[in-house]
Symmetry: C2
Subunit: 222 residues, 2 copies
């Protein structure tokens, strides 16, 4: 029997999402909880990346994860094994989370003893980019098999993210993925975006990524 | 200079999308045009699959393609080289197409001399599944790097498709992709779904896929 809770998320009642998001960030600041919003396409490796992230940070930070999966609980069941606190958010087929929905999730998770809360957003490069969740930082994963042209096709997502993790670099030899072009396209949209190539499966780049995340959490929670 | 047209798609004004979709199918039947709705995640190989499909069918069928790309025209420029008639639909960041939007696209493309019209839908496994476009058949692509658990996570998409193309089987050795499990999950949601493993890049399975599509078009347009 699994120990994590499943929370049915209701549609938000707030008209002004940006205001709600700002309010949520203020509350998180007061509670000394850092919220990371993690976005990507389906199958780019969000859950594997989270597992590697938790393994690297769990001795330093108290971590909670909100899994905004659409209809199953495979990810929550996986994350639970990492030892992090985890809650499954059932979004009833919704294609994104807004600040009101994220707040419901945080209340369900409980942030009293959480330094780092991570929202694993719905697998979708379109809709989640349009809604500020109230997160302190936005991160996205693009995996090598998806192709280096994705910044051209989903520009908003690349524009609003603080970090771009380029995952599955271990399979680079088998795909026509041009890392330099990908960097160039992403930086053109968002000159400040931090780009870290990783292999969540084999561990490459996870140190650089978790060092960055650790320092961001320390800065926010101090 | 590129020869294809770019059409700005407006939001639909129709309240009842299902009724509009049925009406559009009736019009397509009368015009002897078969409409295929092709859906997938970003980066699963929709455009490469289309190129292989057009190459296999262009001597038998007059083909038109609607590229519902979000913000760039990389796909339309690629497809244009295949010799098929192509139009780029700019959806202004919208995450799906409904029947009214598809109808605008078909009018822009012109279906008078088209036996097979293909809509390359927005790269998204969530929202496009919720809207009947008026297509005669729905096809989706799942690529091996995305993982075999995707039917569990995006069940609606797998439920509404007539065909599931499992693409990038050439890289199967480098990923933990269980083809039998993927079949089992998909068939449980949709016992009638036709599953064809392909490598759009190398041509495997393209014969089976295009034979199926050719027979569907012949049946509809007779």
């Amino acid at each position: 029997m699994e120990g994590f809770r499943v929370l049915e998320i209701k549609k938000s009642v707030f008209e002004n999402n940006d205001r709600e998001a700002d309010k949520l960030r203020e509350e998180l600041k007061a509670e000394k909880t850092f919220l990371l919003n993690l976005m990507s396409s389906p199958g780019s490796g969000k859950t594997t990346t989270l597992m590697a992230t938790i393994a690297a940070l769990k001795d330093d930070l108290r971590i909670g994860v909100m899994e905004a999966d659409i209809d199953s609980d495979v990810d929550a069941a996986t994350i639970e094994k990492s030892g992090a606190k985890v809650i499954q958010l059932h979004t009833g087929g919704m294609c994104h989370l807004d600040a009101g929905m994220t707040k419901q999730g945080l209340e369900g998770l409980g942030t009293d003893n959480i330094d780092l809360a991570i929202l694993e957003n719905v697998g979708n490069l379109v809709c989640p980019a349009e809604f500020d969740t109230g997160a302190v930082k936005n991160a996205m994963i693009l995996s090598v098999p998806e192709g280096h042209d994705k910044p051209l096709k989903y520009p908003l997502m690349f524009s609003i993210c603080d970090v771009l993790l380029i995952n599955k670099i271990d399979v680079m030899p088998y795909f026509d993925f041009d890392l330099d072009k990908c960097r160039e396209y992403a930086k053109k949209l968002n000159p400040n975006i931090k780009i870290i190539p990783i292999s969540a499966k084999h561990g490459d780049g996870i140190g650089e990524w978790t060092d960055w995340l650790r320092s961001q959490v320390a800065e926010w929670n101090k």
